[in-house]
């Protein structure tokens, strides 16, 4: 046995692998070429599908005759796949840690090895033809055999690999055997934050190239000052001395040229229709290669977008126009197949981005399937095209730059950018190259940069850890805070700036996106921002009773692991938007609406197109109910320009007048129907004084016993415990109003974005287990009401700080219970807490919810842009957001009143009392308790209770994004300090919500 392997040699990136080239297919006729259907291309044989498979625990356990002999008794799996997803081997999730000891280039000797075989019936190629076997993705090391012969070897999991198998193909059955090793030296630079999994995870196919064939091409656009496009093609061919080239649009040829192989030609298109993400117009390009005497025999189509990226005075321009990227970082992920993601899912990802106003995507942190870039060209998404590089795990030994700064690894590093650029450089959507992610800095970075510029001088290059942009063309940071971004904007770098990761979307959140966006919008030098990240990496699983949930690190017995750090996307694993994505959509809305002093202002925040397609529907709301609707069409407002019109709104004679502006686009495309909502805004307009409450004449019956106080009025009885200070029973109309007493609290279920605060502040100070001690309860009659005053100490065990609180209940003859709550802290703790408010339970039957406040969706103080103030209705179950790891959710802010009712219409109404009117509050209601939610690790751990937990909060801590990034901004911090607030609780009789709501909004 030797200790030297190809898979532990970073100087060797492949054997017999063909030179990288653009992704294209050759067709026998122009008509076939126009289909862009690769299955119709010459000699296309799809090798995806069933393969014989067996997993070995060591490369040398693969049978010696594996290359030449079909193996009996092996399993059949479907390629593409990751074998761990099919139940072979072990899944493991780490963010950055290598799953084996660090000793580059060595990897475990017992290296899991997947052996694949497939027999394909083929016809031997004709004279001069070449048969090419292509893999679009194999992780991490593959040896390929055909009919027993060694074909080649490749590394670079997410970089295409092609091999010439012409010499090995026979007419009849052909045996393809592929040996895939999970780990190789390449693993050290493929340490992205994702599941450790391996296999042939993208498509495999054969193509036949004719004797006269196109080898590669590179097309680029230059926009002239006069608005023409000079399109230059360089093309390489074999077996031919002439290449024909044409550009057409909608079937009309706009220009043509001929060139020699290896040469270049330019077609000038006057008044060109340029590509941009708002108008992703594509031309048809056809390259035809002639064989001597045979005419053209190889026709290669390309969807050409006319796009040129330049840097002018330190700012990025696309086709001469300034632009900014509202982006997201996207990993390949499917909750059933991992990174072996089908193109339907990829397309749905991209369409969801478009539907949420996103105009850019960073391919974090590797190249995607080549069809991804075609889709971005078609749909209109700018791409920060990152190659397959990350050596983050060296951070764990304090030396993240170890191999990045080691010349021994230069070949491997440069290979990764070379193959990437050559494969994708013809795509209009690619706005810049990215050399990789979180790999430190060192000599291999400038080497990669130089190679990228050599292969594509037209595009800027990005790499975040070239911290001061010593070499790269775009300076970049990640997770810089709001005010830090403002510092950058106030003191701009000579090169354009982006923030390539921010807004860590782990669980509930992120918060603070509006503030980030305000800074981005303020400074031209900040030209892109990319949320981390697009999709949760949860893997679908099913309980024994058939309920679906999603697994994360540690759920497979994997250790070490980074637990749910991979559940950090704006899209749930089942590919539906989370509230965070809804918020992001609003924050980056391309149309800004303002209403002030009777003037409606509509501003175009697009970069390339007008507002000709846009309508603004302005709704006037009286106490949350739509009173009037008017539609405005701003017309062809140019990018950056505004349109204004005077608008006279009809004011409510009593109560609150607000208006909501809904912005829609009439534009239709493959990914959107017309009337897509681009954004929504709401504005306070007017508030008219309310009338006073009519006094009730119904007396309150009071009965004091040893430790209880019974209060009765028509149809309602309330029992108060004079020791605990609790309402122990409240029945109205024969039905319970509450089933547990309102109690003051500061804790709510932990959200991932507060984990660090929990670890460092709350758990050490036992904030989550504070104890309530009732020190006194007194009561008195007061002008027909009954007032009960409760003093409490709420404090953690072990420590000597806490809150002295007073709850002053006022029970009125009309059946209402008002409570004023004040607190004075003592002791040393004065830092942040999750909330200040009351919690109680109501019967599960009381789970229909109607409220006048911010909605309809979940919102928090620092994540409230996407929801507007109005009257909304839902139910407790629907309001519970199904985060993969259960956590606090369902909050609604800016609430004037909330009612929980049963199907009979009875229930409870919560408002501020008269003297607190105008101070909105927040509420949430769950079918579980806070303790249930905190204890649950997966959605299916939660069991619906027969009660509903209701939280009415005077203050709720903002979300922030400090699961990896920004703390909660100062304005959204809730501190353990003095407070004073009040609520009013009223039982609702069947059917009287409308009347009661009307009374509290109009007559309070």
């Amino acid at each position: 046995m030797t200790d030297t392997h190809d898979w532990e040699n970073p100087r060797l990136t492949g054997r017999n692998r063909l030179a990288a080239r653009a992704y294209f297919f050759g067709y026998a006729t122009p008509a076939l070429a126009s289909t862009h259907s690769r299955t119709l291309s010459r000699g296309f044989v799809d090798l995806s599908g069933p393969w014989q498979f067996r997993l070995f625990d060591h490369p040398r356990r693969v049978p010696r005759d594996f290359a030449a002999t079909p193996q009996a008794g092996w399993d059949v799996i479907q390629v593409p796949h990751l074998w761990q997803m099919d139940g072979y081997g072990d899944l493991q999730y780490t963010d950055e840690g290598y799953p084996f000891p660090i000793e580059p280039p060595h990897v475990p000797a017992d290296n899991p090895t997947g052996a694949y075989q497939r027999i394909i019936t083929l016809t031997a190629p004709a004279e001069g033809e070449r048969v090419v076997l292509r893999f679009d993705g194999v992780e991490s090391y593959a040896e390929i055999f055909c009919n027993g012969a060694f074909v080649g070897m490749t590394k670079g999991s997410r970089l295409a690999a092609e091999f010439d198998v012409t010499a090995h193909i026979v007419t009849g059955d052909n045996l393809f055997s592929v040996k895939v090793l999970q780990f190789s030296d390449a693993t050290y630079i493929e340490d992205q934050d994702m599941w450790w999994a391996s296999g042939i995870f993208r498509d495999v196919y054969l193509v036949t190239r004719p004797a006269a064939r196109l080898l590669d091409f590179f097309v680029r656009t230059h926009r002239t000052d006069g608005g023409a496009a000079e399109v230059t093609l360089t093309a390489w061919a074999e077996g031919s001395d002439r290449i024909e080239w044409s550009i057409s649009d909608a079937g009309v040829e706009l220009g043509s040229a001929a060139l020699e192989p290896g040469g270049s030609a330019t077609i000038t298109l006057p008044d060109a229709h340029f590509w941009n993400p708002e108008d992703p117009h594509l031309h048809d390009m056809l390259i035809s290669v002639s064989a001597d005497g045979d005419g053209a025999v190889d026709h290669v189509p390309h969807r050409l977008g006319l796009a040129e990226v330049t840097i002018v005075d330190g700012l990025l321009h696309l086709n001469g126009s300034y632009f900014s990227m509202h982006g997201v970082n996207r990993h390949d992920h499917d909750d059933h197949s991992g990174r072996a993601v089908g193109m339907a899912r990829v397309r749905r990802d991209l369409e969801l981005m478009k539907l949420h106003n996103i105009n850019a995507v960073r391919t974090a942190h590797y190249p995607n399937d080549p069809r991804f870039y075609e889709m971005c060209d078609e749909l209109g998404l700018l791409v920060v095209a990152e190659t397959d590089l990350e050596s983050h795990g060296f951070a764990n030994v304090g030396d993240i730059s170890r191999i990045t700064d080691d010349p021994e690894w230069e070949t491997a590093y440069v290979d990764r950018i070379e193959r990437h650029v050559l494969a994708q450089r013809n795509h209009a959507s690619i706005v810049m190259w990215s050399l990789g992610n979180e790999s430190g800095y060192g000599c291999n970075i400038p080497a990669m940069y130089a190679r990228a510029k050599e292969l594509d001088p037209t595009r800027p290059v990005h790499y975040e850890e070239d911290r001061n942009a010593e070499h790269v063309d775009v300076i970049s940071t990640m997770y810089s805070r709001v005010s830090q971004m403002n510092d950058f904007g106030e003191h701009p770098h000579p090169k354009p700036r982006i923030i390539c990761e921010y807004g860590h979307s782990m669980g509930n959140g992120p918060g603070g996106l509006s503030e980030y966006q305000a800074v981005f919008n303020r400074h031209d030098s900040i030209q892109g921002h990319f949320i981390w990240e697009w999709c949760d990496h949860g893997l679908a699983a099913t309980t024994e009773d058939g309920r679906e949930f999603h697994k994360y690190g540690g759920d497979f017995g994997d250790y070490p692991n980074n637990s749910n750090f991979c559940i950090d996307g704006m899209v749930f694993p089942w590919q539906e938007p989370s509230p965070g994505l809804t918020e992001y959509k609003q924050v980056i809305s391309p149309v800004l609406v303002d209403y002030a002093d009777g003037v409606l202002t509509v501003t175009n925040r697009r970069w390339f197109t007008t507002l000709e397609d846009v309508a603004v529907t302005l709704e006037t709301l009286h106490d949350g109910v739509v009173a009037d609707v008017e539609v405005f069409r701003p017309g062809a407002v140019a990018p950056g320009e505004s349109w204004t019109t005077p608008v006279e709104l009809r004011l409510a004679p009593v109560g609150e007048t607000r208006c909501t502006a809904r912005v829609t686009s009439a534009h239709a495309a493959s990914w959107t129907a017309p009337m897509r909502e681009l954004g929504r805004y709401d504005f306070a307009v007017h508030s008219a004084p309310r009338r006073s409450i009519a006094p009730t004449t119904q007396p309150l019956e009071v009965r004091a016993e040893l430790t209880t106080l019974r209060l009765a009025t028509a149809g309602s009885e309330l029992v108060f415990d004079l020791l605990s200070g609790d309402i122990t029973s409240w029945v109205a109309g024969g039905r319970p109003v509450l089933v547990s007493p309102p109690r003051l609290g500061f804790w709510k279920p932990l959200v991932d974005n507060h984990q660090q605060e929990c670890d460092d502040l709350w758990t050490p100070n036992h904030i989550e287990i504070m104890q309530t001690s009732t020190r006194s309860v007194t009561w008195r009659a007061d002008d027909g009401d009954v007032v009960v005053e409760v003093t409490q100490r709420i404090a953690p065990p072990v420590l000597d700080f806490g809150m002295h609180a007073t709850l002053t209940w006022r029970f009125t003859p009309d059946g209402r219970a008002d409570v004023r709550v004040s607190g004075t802290p003592y002791g040393s703790y004065d830092d942040i807490i999750p909330r200040i408010g009351l919690s109680f339970e109501v019967p599960r039957a009381t789970r229909a919810v109607e409220w006048y406040g911010r909605g309809p969706g979940e919102n928090y103080p620092d994540s409230a842009a996407a929801n507007t103030v109005g009257r909304w209705s839902s139910d407790v179950d629907a309001m519970f957001t199904p985060y993969v790891v259960p956590q606090d959710c369902a909050n609604r802010g800016d609430v004037r009143w909330v009612a929980l009712t049963s199907p009979h219409g009875d229930g409870l109404l919560v408002t501020r009392p008269d003297n607190s009117e105008g101070v909105p509050f927040a509420f949430s209601a769950w079918p579980h308790t806070a303790a249930d939610i905190d204890a649950a690790r997966h959605r299916t751990d939660l069991v619906v209770r027969d009660t509903v937990t209701v939280n009415i909060n005077d203050a709720v801590l903002g979300l922030g994004s400090n699961s990896w990034g920004s703390e909660v901004l100062d304005a959204y911090r809730v501190r353990f300090e003095a407070f004073d607030f009040a609520f009013s609780l009223r039982p609702l009789a069947a059917g009287n919500l409308t009347a009661t709501a009307a009374s509290i909004t109009k007559e309070n």
Binding site: S483, N486, F488, P494, Q756, L761, G965, L969
Partner: protein, 150 residues
Amino acid sequence: MRLFDTRADFDNVLGGTKKWSRTGEALDDAPNLHPGVAYSIGDSLTYVSGDTTALARDSLTGRRRYHLVVASTRGTVRLEVAPKDSVNASTDYDNLTDRQYFSGSGDVVSIPEGGICIVDIDEAARILPDAETAAVQLHVTVEGATFHNK
């Protein structure tokens, strides 16, 4: 406010803490970078170098989430510092800039060339302009208990 007359004093006292080590790293890098341009080291800090005439502000400025740190790189830099509760807020605190402006006056602190001054978050401060002096101005996170990022 903490004043270190020399870099060595600063390193001796604070050098073991990540954000203060990075402060030292920034001070080492600053001479090689563009003046007037903000750079950063991880999430810990941003910094900009320049003549004090360019770094000076008209008003005392208070911060809540980032310490103002001033290191003199030429001459004796003068810094006016006042406890926030001794001056009057002239603006609200701004989440976008981590700034709040104050009116009033404070004590003038002289930072010798090579010295470093850390302004606490219960203080407001401003660099005083002087054509003969230059400095590196840093905003260093107050995070510590909850700081583990890049």
